[in-house]
């Protein structure tokens, strides 16, 4: 049974998508229930995977079936600690995302089907241990985004969808070069054509000069989806145009594929390249963190604020990776989890407000706390997570990554310069506080603005209903669980990284 677990998680959403496509158009409830039930099932299975996960084994729930034998492509799925953490993140996000998407008014069938296909791709990436399979799932996850934004989006949706797609395709194209380089060089060295992750890992060491060339391609290629500055500008527009559930999934999970890919492929196969380039990319991540938070200060569209905050927070992921320390990389993965849940919560809340007021301009709001107390509490809660309040999840990752950065020189790894980079990053905590509190105040506190009073939807504004409260509470509970007692996630992540990434980088495992 164990062997089917991961495949079940990956393909249940696709199956549900097929079922949904066969349903009659009018059966909206059926469509929603199918999608929600399928995603709930993935949550349950991910939790099962977490419970039965054995940290002593490098590849849990492994299945390795030849797929295209001539080219050495296998259907190799398995899970280590990092995968499990990402599965939990993805399943929670898609489940709550489905619950929030009941707002979608047109073409529900196609919307949910596409959303589920996308999620299959994401799950697939996180369990693939075959590089080719990894890329297949990666593209499967990225492409439906074009349609989801282009059809169900708002505002300049065609422009945003196209911008996003072009950016991500550029990233993918950049990735193909090092991946095929790896494939060809491994063949030259071993005489075997293989994409198998573990085969490559155990039997092949890339030449240092090639690592030096390929690592930045991997980093920028994955960095594009991971919100790396300066290839991040698709993200504010994309998020602003996307419907809430898509934003949740996109910022919550898809952008995490970037950091995940850099760790799985970049650090694994090009450790020397990573050491050579880390300082350079660390400088870019500083720009990410400070620039993202500074840019968010004067935004007036709620979604732009959160999108820029994502740019800032994802800088912590890439910075963590660049520290090349155990604390930093663990922190990076932890941040992928923590930020995923937090940003899903934020986008869900924007969805709640937007769905009711049909406006996202914080300058046109004010005084919503009185009518929407639960939404207010949830928003303040999410904001506090974002600005790194201890006891909530955001703080843990910032602490871990900065600890990594501050100890980087000490551990004999890249450079004492990292300390100064971390110092600049720390200024982000001030700017983050500014934009979070500004948004909270403008939206929820004070008196309703003129514009709000003129808004026709304001008269019959209601707070969250039970379904929304349920979805938001799941996310908030996860944040508390992860923040107040983070050791369970840290241990999970660390067990995964200690198996193959840390030894490769020569980092002592903790």
């Amino acid at each position: 049974m164990e062997a089917y677990l991961l495949s079940a998680i990956v393909f249940i959403p696709t199956l549900a998508a097929l079922i949904i496509m066969m349903m009659p158009e009018e059966n909206v409830t059926g469509v929603r229930m199918t999608a929600s039930f399928a995603s709930l099932l993935t949550v349950v299975l991910s939790v099962v995977a977490y419970i039965f996960y054995d940290p002593a084994v490098a590849r849990n729930f492994e299945v390795n079936i030849p797929w295209v034998q001539v080219m050495g492509i296998n259907y190799h799925v398995a899970a280590d600690g990092v995968s499990i953490a990402m599965l939990l993140l993805t399943s929670i996000t898609i489940f709550t995302g489905c619950l929030i998407s009941w707002e979608i008014k047109e073409r529900q069938k196609e919307f949910f089907a596409l959303l589920l296909v996308l999620v299959s791709g994401v799950f697939g990436v996180f369990v693939s241990f075959d590089v080719f399979l990894f890329l297949v799932f990666y593209e499967l996850a990225v492409l439906p985004m074009y349609l989801l934004i282009g059809i169900w989006g708002t505002g300049r949706k065609e422009y945003s969808a196209m911008k996003l797609t072009l950016y991500l395709l550029f990233g993918s194209a950049l990735l193909l070069i090092p991946v095929f380089g790896l494939y060809v060089q491994a063949h030259a060295a071993t005489g075997v054509w293989s994409f198998d992750y573990d085969f490559l890992r155990q039997n092949f060491n890339m030449e240092e000069s090639w690592q030096y060339i390929f690592y930045p391609m991997v980093f920028v290629g994955f960095g594009t989806i991971g919100g790396l500055w300066p290839v991040h500008t698709w993200s504010p527009d994309g998020h602003a145009s996307a419907p809430s559930a898509v934003s949740m999934l996109h910022a919550g999970v898809l952008m995490k594929l970037g950091g995940y890919g850099i760790i799985r492929i970049g650090l694994q196969f090009m450790p020397y390249g990573a050491q050579e380039w880390s300082l350079f990319f660390a400088c870019l991540t500083v720009v990410n963190i400070v620039y993202g938070s500074l840019s968010a200060i004067k935004q007036t569209d709620m979604k732009y604020i959160i999108a820029y905050s994502s740019v800032s927070h994802l800088g912590i992921v890439t910075l963590g990776i660049c520290t090349l320390t155990s604390a930093g990389i663990n922190g990076a993965v932890y941040q992928m989890f923590a930020h995923g849940i937090m940003t899903a919560l934020l986008f869900a809340l924007v969805g709640v407000v937007y769905g009711r007021l049909h406006s996202r301009m914080i300058t046109d709001m004010g005084g919503l706390a009185k009518i929407m107390p639960f939404t207010t509490v949830a928003f303040v809660f999410a904001g506090m997570t974002g600005l790194g309040l201890p006891g909530l999840s955001g703080f843990v990752s910032e602490l871990m990554v900065l600890t990594g950065a501050f100890s980087a020189g000490v551990a004999g790894t890249p450079s004492p310069m990292m300390k100064y980079i971390a110092l600049v990053c720390l200024t982000g905590v001030v700017f983050t506080a500014i934009y979070v509190l500004r948004a909270v105040q403008r939206i929820f506190f004070g008196q309703p603005t003129e514009a709000l009073l003129r808004n026709e939807h304001f008269a019959h504004l209601l707070d969250t209903d039970r379904r929304e409260i349920f979805a938001l509470s799941i996310l908030m509970l996860t944040i508390v669980l992860a923040g107040a007692y983070p050791v369970w996630i840290i241990d999970l992540i660390n067990s995964g990284l200690s198996n193959d990434i840390f030894p490769r980088l020569g980092i002592p495992t903790m």
Binding site: P373, V396, L399, M400, L426
Partner: protein
């Protein structure tokens, strides 16, 4: 005992959780947020959420007493519950350290906290949103307890940030008021600037010693073989941690948030912005005393200062600076706010010069008399508000120019307030005298002569503005509109009883620390010694003797009161004459030296401008997207040009093929 320690913070937390989920239910109201029915509906709700909150803090207080008596018997607890955050070599547990220092803080937080909770039952009785208020208040007690109990810097930092959150929520409690939410936001952001330094300090400690647990850290400092190697680092650590204290304890230059924080309900000002949270910085310096005492002379100094010097100078500057602003303020809470800033400065002088127990002693006495003064001010405001409300006036109930003659209207409030006034003015044998005097004489004996004299000047101003406040509020003729005067009545006993209890302690609390010079034996100093070290009394007296110092200090207090008596007691016109004669000085003080305006021009506006004009509309839209668009346009143009060749006509292709052939042949023949 481990369990008791854990329960002390957890019980108030439980109170907050219960009020979050069941507050409305306990209150028995079904439409709590509906203001339309609010004014009538609120009287029918039961005060259960508030009582629950009081009981929770009361239980915590009793448990703290048990712990305190154990500590009194020489016990010390250092308990780790579980591993909280692990990252590489970084390990932090959730653990508590209970020694005389934290045991004292426990009693202050839960004891004064309890009294203020009870007081708030009366003060907030007509607020439609009480469950939320008591929820925040309980959450604050929990956070503050975590701050003082933590056995490592991370638990302390947790409390440090969490009290900041509660402070933010409570300052902005009246969230419909723009000024209140502005003040909350300002408090949080200014504190964040301090936290930046505090965070750096923690990282630097971890980087240097590999631990953030107090016991291990202090042992590592003590066992350091090569003190010169870490001397500068230690100074830097001390200064960075102190940056956090500057934010939290409202010192120059980050004090600006505290006066604005008076937007919060008055019990909040008493609890958070006078008695407990703002003293966290002083507590932190006392807790980390091995860092601040680690001074090997000029070799380890930064900018010619040791960390302790910096603490002393900042404290001293703040003590005097804030007192000058307090001289002219007309809002009763604003006067007290600047007074708090100033008194915190005195505490920092104490811990800065190495007299940690003196600093903590002043923290203790100040907690009593300033909580008393704030609650008294709250009672006065309550009285005034009630009077104005009865006759439909909208005069400012906090403006002392509308008061006067309240002594006969509200006797308990007046008498207790007067006790607080004498205590803060430094008149023996009231509590403030002993603690302030101990600080100033310690500064003198440590060679900070300038600090001593400035401190005396500040003490004189303190006595002056407090006397001015008392005279204008309680004595003379009432300046309230005549119709309102007869409606001024004393507050309910749920408010006055806490006042009496606090007044009692404000009077006697000083006796636990009577200095040797006055025939006492400084019991409090000896009690704290295991945690903060004994501050050695000077062996040989240079300059003035202890007795003369005490004399100077008493004289300063009396002089301040005397001036105020002459100027304000009988509503004499001197005060107005002075303010017109020294108009520029007066205006500058009234506008608080224009510091807020300067910060706005020099820091806030440039950041906003940079965010909008440079980053968002500049770099992102113009440069990066511009580049992208240029790429797109180029691609498009290239496509259009190339398309011209792809006409689909065989003739065109044939033409270009011939042309190509011709060119190649031409090239080869040349």
């Amino acid at each position: 005992m481990d369990l008791i320690l854990l329960l002390i913070p957890l019980i108030p937390l439980a109170g907050a959780v219960i009020n979050t989920f069941f507050g409305r239910m306990l209150e028995g109201s079904s439409h709590g947020h509906d203001d339309g029915h609010g004014s009538e509906g609120e009287h029918h709700t039961k005060p259960i959420p508030g009582i629950l909150a009081c009981v929770m803090v009361g239980i915590s207080f009793v448990l703290s007493l048990i712990v305190f008596f154990d500590v009194l018997n020489g016990q010390r607890f250092n308990v780790d519950y579980f591993e909280w955050i692990v990252a590489g070599n970084f390990r932090a547990t959730l653990g508590f350290l209970i020694d005389p220092l934290s045991a004292t803080m426990l009693l202050i937080v839960t004891g004064i906290g309890f009294l203020i909770h009870v007081y708030a039952l009366g003060y907030m009785a007509h607020d439609p949103d009480r469950p939320r208020f008591f929820n925040y208040l309980n959450l604050f007690i929990f956070s503050m307890l975590m701050l003082v109990m933590g056995n490592n810097l991370l638990v302390m930092f947790f409390g440090w940030e969490a009290v900041g959150l509660c402070s933010y929520l409570l300052i902005g409690y009246f969230y419909k008021k723009q000024s209140a939410t502005d003040a909350g936001k300002k408090a949080f952001i200014v504190n964040r600037i301090g936290d930046f330094g505090f965070g750096l300090g923690i990282f630097l400690i971890f980087g240097t010693f590999g631990t953030i647990h107090f016991d291990q850290l202090f042992a590592a400092i003590q066992n350091q073989s090569n003190v010169f190697a870490i001397a500068t680092t230690m100074t830097a650590i001390g200064m960075l941690l102190f940056v956090g204290a500057i934010g939290k304890s409202a010192q120059i230059p980050l004090y600006v948030w505290l006066p604005d924080a008076m937007e919060g309900p008055t019990p909040v000002s008493a609890l958070i912005h006078a008695a407990t949270m703002v003293t966290a910085g002083v507590f932190m310096v006392a807790r980390c005393n091995p860092i601040y005492s680690f001074d090997i002379g000029p070799a380890g100094h930064i900018l010619g200062m040791s960390a302790g010097d910096l603490v002393t100078y900042v404290g001293c500057a703040t003590a005097v600076f804030a007192a000058t602003i307090g001289l002219v303020q007309t809002d009763i809470k604003k006067v007290l706010a600047y007074s708090t800033v100033s008194q915190l400065g005195y505490m920092f002088i104490g811990v800065g010069v190495g007299a940690y127990s003196a600093g903590v002693f002043h923290l203790l006495t100040h907690a009593f008399f300033k909580a008393l003064l704030f609650l008294g001010a709250g009672s006065v405001i309550h009285v005034m508000e009630h009077g104005f409300h009865k006759v439909g006036l909208h005069d400012d109930p906090q403006d002392i120019r509308n008061m006067g003659g309240l002594y006969s209207k509200a006797k308990v409030t007046a008498i207790t307030f007067i006790a607080g006034w004498i205590a803060i003015s430094g008149i023996p044998p009231f509590s403030g005298f002993f603690s302030k005097d101990e600080i100033l004489s310690a500064a003198y004996h440590e060679g900070y002569n300038g600090v001593f004299w400035l401190g005396i000047l500040g003490a004189m101003m303190t006595a002056f503005y407090m006397s001015r406040l008392v005279f204008l509020t309680f004595f003379g003729e009432s300046r309230a509109k005549p119709e309102a005067r007869e409606h001024l009545h004393e507050s309910a006993s749920v408010m006055t009883v806490p006042l009496m209890i606090l007044a009692f302690f404000a009077v006697i609390a000083g006796f636990i620390g009577i200095p040797e010079a006055l025939g006492g034996h400084n019991w409090f100093g000896h009690f704290l010694a295991p945690a903060v070290g004994e501050h050695a009394a000077p062996t040989e007296v240079h300059g003035f003797s202890e007795g003369i110092l005490i004399g100077i200090s008493i004289f300063a207090g009396l002089a301040g009161i005397g001036f105020a008596y002459l100027m304000y007691f009988k509503n004499t016109p001197q005060a107005d004459k002075l303010s017109t004669e020294f108009k520029p000085v007066y205006t500058t003080l009234l506008h608080k030296y224009y510091v807020d305006e300067a910060y706005d021009k020099l820091i806030v506006s440039p950041i906003k401008w940079c965010s909008e004009k440079i980053l968002w509309k500049g770099v992102d839209v113009k440069i990066i997207d511009g580049f992208l668009n240029v790429t797109a346009i180029t691609t498009d143009l290239t496509g259009r040009v190339l398309r011209l060749f792809q006409t689909g006509y065989v003739q065109t292709y044939a033409f270009f093929i011939s042309l190509g052939l011709f060119l190649i042949i031409y090239y080869l023949m040349k």
